[in-house]
Every structure is written in structure tokens, then in C-alpha cells.
Amino acid sequence: MVEAFFEWFPTTWLGMLLGVEQTGLFYFVTIVAIILAIVFPLLIAVAFAVYFDRKIWASVQLRRGPNVVGPFGLLQSFADGFKLFLKETVIPTGANKAIFLMAPMITFVLALISWAVIPFGDGMALANLNVGILYILAVSSLGVYGIIMSGWASNSRYAFLGSLRSAAQMVSYEVSIGFVLVCVLLAVGSLNLNDVVLAQEGGIHRWYFIPFAPVFLIFYISALAETNRPPFDLPEAEAELVAGYQVEYSSMAFALFFLGEYANILLMSAVMAILFFGGWYAPIPALDFIPGFFWLFIKICFFFWTFAMVKAFVPRYRYDQLMRLGWKVFLPLSLFLVVFYAGFMVAFDLLPGQ
């Protein structure tokens, strides 16, 4: 996308009027503009995601939810953000200052940079990486650091225990996510997210959630655990640990954690849509005249809705049950599925690129 725009824009009348040439500076400005074009809508989407999350729980529990600020309470998230912005950033006396302040920034930045490889249409990604899936896996495995560092730097028992739990949980569930990705990659024959979507062209019956239903189920549950969503929100289990690794954080530092968490949830929804639900494709090929971005958006909204519903009606797991599920159920199951799908594809000559 970047390269195409880079070559196309100087040939347009606006480009000629401005006298734009294909220089390094123009390339830089283009990339920054595209990054902003992704990040701004994303942050607004995050603000509304928080609002809809709260509205959905409220409906499940027969409450009204936020309904005061703005029409239908739509501006509630912005009011909350503004309030947090005006608050004082409290740094505990015993805290390791530099790491304490760096942790929320790392969480927030990592939640944003994964979006660089998400294709919003054919070839419409900021970076069309050949190893896009590995990039997402790598960035999500880095996400542990924001949490561990915040827990350790806070110099508080609750925060430390919460961060240890969270790190162990994320590392455990990454293993099964890795195997799930291998299953999908076997069918696609490429690590490029664009190719993954292109392989599912041709309507809803070609989407991977049908042949890969068990794999999708494992991925969905692992995604809940990876994003620390209920029923796996043990890191911040308020009943035991007050708020886990976030105990000592206030003001914008807390807001960054919060934004990062929701940006990660949206990212996981987008990854699910791309891997199993045909990314930017419409369910019926006849509807493909509607821009692909719209379909991806609808799919992300759907998965976010299911995430919110799960939070509303599933009780929290106990920690040892969580570990058992990750290591004793999902790991063997996903390992078996990799062997099964690989064997199946070899036996029936379905492997791509042959």
C-alpha cells in the first residue's frame, strides 16, 4: 500500500501542484500519514469499544449502563479519559521510577504496532510482511514485559503476584496459539496475512472456520486468555489481588494500560477475522462491491461483541484450573490437531503449492 501510494501520489494533480517528488522525505511523510490514519480511528474505536463493552454487560445484568454523558452516554469514555488526564500521576516511594513509568508505555505501544501488518483490503496493510503472522506472535509475546515490569517496579505484593500470574498465563497460552497458527499456515502455504485472506476467497463456505472449527475454538479461548479477559482475568482478580499489576497506577499511566488492553482485544478480533472468517471478503461474493474495510470492521465488531458477552456470563477460572486447561488440554489437543491436519492434507493431496 505504501509503495503504491508513494508512486501514485506525485502523478496526481495535487501531487504536481505541490511539486512532490519521490524523495526520502516524501516517503517518510507518507508513512507517518498512514500510521496516523490507522492509529486515530483505532483509538476512537477503542473508546467506543469500552463504551459498548459496558453497555453489553449492563444489558445482560438488566442495568442501563453509562447513559448520562452525551446522547445515550456515548461520550462516557471520553469523559473518563479526560478525568484520568487531569489526575495526578502518583509514583509510589519504593517504586523503581524509570521502569514504573516505562511499563504502561510499552504495553500501549505494543498494542498499537501489531496493527501495522493487519490487511484492511487486498494489499492494504502498512507493512505487507512476508512473516506477518510471526510478527503478530512476536509482538504479543513482548506484551508480557509491560505487565512484568509494572508488577516488579510497583514494589507491591499484590502487583507483583498479579504480574507473575499474568506472565505465566500469557506464556502458557502462546504455545497453543502457536500450534493453531501452524494448522492454518499448512493450509495457506504462506506466513503473509494477505495470502491467508486471499486463500479464503469465494464466499462463506470457503472460510477457514468450517474446516478448522476445532482449531478456531482453541484459538478463541486462547485469545481470551492472552488478552487477560474474563474468564481468565486472574492477573487483575479484584477479589484476591485488588487490581493485580495495575494497583499502584493512576492517571494517564493507568489509562495507557486500559487503552492497550482494549486495543489488544480489537487486534485479537481482527486476527480471528483474518485467519478464520475471510478477512475483508464478504460472505457472498456478490457483495464484494462494498469496500473490504467495511466487512473487516463488521467482523471485528462481531468478535468484540462475543468477547463482551463472555465477560458478562462466564464465571472466573481458578488459577490452577487455568494452567491445567492451557498445558494439559490445549497443548496436547492442538499438537494432535497439527499432526492430524498435516496428515490429512498429505493423504488427500491438499497441500498448497504442489
Binding site: I99, N130, L137, A138, I148, V171, S190
Partner: protein, 214 residues
């Protein structure tokens, strides 16, 4: 005017960060800071891999070393209860022997470097490079080599790691008596009929002790 291309600039940035972070790993006083610097060093060397066109290796470096190995390092180091003052007390006492070992290593490096000879076919090997990264994907190229020519070595390496893992588990595992464990299958298989019974209570008699079932 010094003109650098973007790639060169990125190379010098990553290289400088790698070396600086490496130096800080050994000079940081707090072990947790050391591990964090180590992570930065890993991360920027992954950046160097990307610049060389080895994107697959770069991602693996981040996933395996930063995402898994360094997390375990950090876990262990955070749990350590170290008295930093005590740690630094013996520094002068150990300085001579430390300096001696360092000097020996440095001399060995120099000897090795001066006596280094390139093999006769190195030049032809370099000339016969793999096709450009745009033609064959990194991942595919690696797979074609690892799973054909070097399959036995690759599998043996995996087997050695597996044996090491099992060995570590066997050595550290101990069965403690009297630990209560959940049997999930048993719990799930339990039906209401097994768990409770309805008893008609006669007035003034009370309920007899229930007979224990399943």
C-alpha cells in the same frame, strides 16, 4: 556533508543500541535492569537480522529469546533476594584473578585471530549465494534446507532438547505425600443422583447419617 541512506542509519542505530545494551548488561548494578538491557540487546539484534533480509530469524529471535527465555530469566532474577551492598564487597579482593582471566582470554582471542585462515572454498561459497529475498521467501528457503539436507541433524538437535527437558523434570520432580488433587474427569462425571439423596424425615426422629456414595 555526511549522507546516510535510511538502511545505513537504521544499521548504525541498531548496532549501537546492541553494543551499548550489551555493555549495560554487565555494568548495571540491579540484576533486573541487567535482564531488561539484555532484552533490549536481543531486540535490536533482531532489527539487525531484518536489515540483512533474514526476517524469519529475526521473528524467531524475538519469539523464542525475548518472548520465552528472557521472561524466565526475569522471573528467576526478580525472585532473588540479593543484598546489593554485600554483593559488591568482595570486588577488590577478586579483582586480580578476574583481571588475570580476562587478560588470558584476550590473548587467546588475539592468537586465534592472527592464526585464522579462511577455507579454500569460502570465496566460491559466498559467490554462490541463495537467490534474492524477493524471489524465494526466507521461510521457504530455510525450510528447503533444514527439512531436506539437514533433516537428521535438525531432528537430533530437537531430540537432545527434549531429553534435556525430560531430564530436568525427572530430576526436580518429587512426589509429596498428602497432597490433595482434583480429579476433573471424576468431578465432571458426577451426577446429582450420586451427590445427594432425598430423605423423608419423621417428626421427632431426625435424619440418620447419610451413607457415603461415590
Amino acid at each position: 556533508m555526511l549522507s546516510l541512506s535510511l538502511t545505513e542509519l537504521a544499521f548504525y542505530l541498531f548496532a549501537f543500541v546492541t553494543v551499548a545494551a550489551g555493555a549495560l548488561v554487565i555494568s548495571a548494578k540491579n540484576p533486573v535492569h541487567s535482564v531488561l538491557w539484555l532484552i533490549l540487546a536481543f531486540f535490536s539484534s533482531a532489527g539487525l537480522f531484518v536489515l540483512m533480509g533474514a526476517e524469519f530469524l529475526a521473528m524467531l529471535l524475538v519469539i523464542v529469546y525475548v518472548g520465552a527465555v528472557a521472561v524466565l530469566f526475569l522471573f528467576v532474577v526478580m525472585m532473588l533476594d540479593i543484598n546489593f551492598v554485600e554483593l559488591r564487597q568482595g570486588f577488590l579482593q577478586y579483582l586480580p584473578i578476574g583481571a588475570l582471566i580476562g587478560a588470558i582470554l584476550a590473548i587467546e582471542l588475539v592468537v586465534l585471530g592472527s592464526a585464522w585462515h579462511f577455507g579454500p572454498d569460502v570465496a566460491s561459497n559466498i559467490a554462490a549465494q541463495a537467490p534474492a529475498a524477493t524471489e524465494v521467501e526466507n521461510t521457504k528457503a530455510l525450510g528447503q534446507i533444514i527439512y531436506t539436507d539437514y533433516i537428521f541433524i535438525f531432528q537430533t538437535a530437537g531430540l537432545i532438547l527434549l531429553v534435556a527437558m525430560i531430564g530436568a523434570i525427572v530430576l526436580t520432580h518429587r512426589t509429596r505425600p498428602g497432597v490433595k488433587r482434583q480429579n476433573i474427569a471424576e468431578q465432571v462425571a458426577r451426577r446429582p443422583e450420586d451427590a445427594f439423596e432425598l430423605v423423608d424425615v419423621e417428626v421427632g426422629k431426625g435424619v440418620p447419617m447419610p451413607t457415603k456414595k461415590g
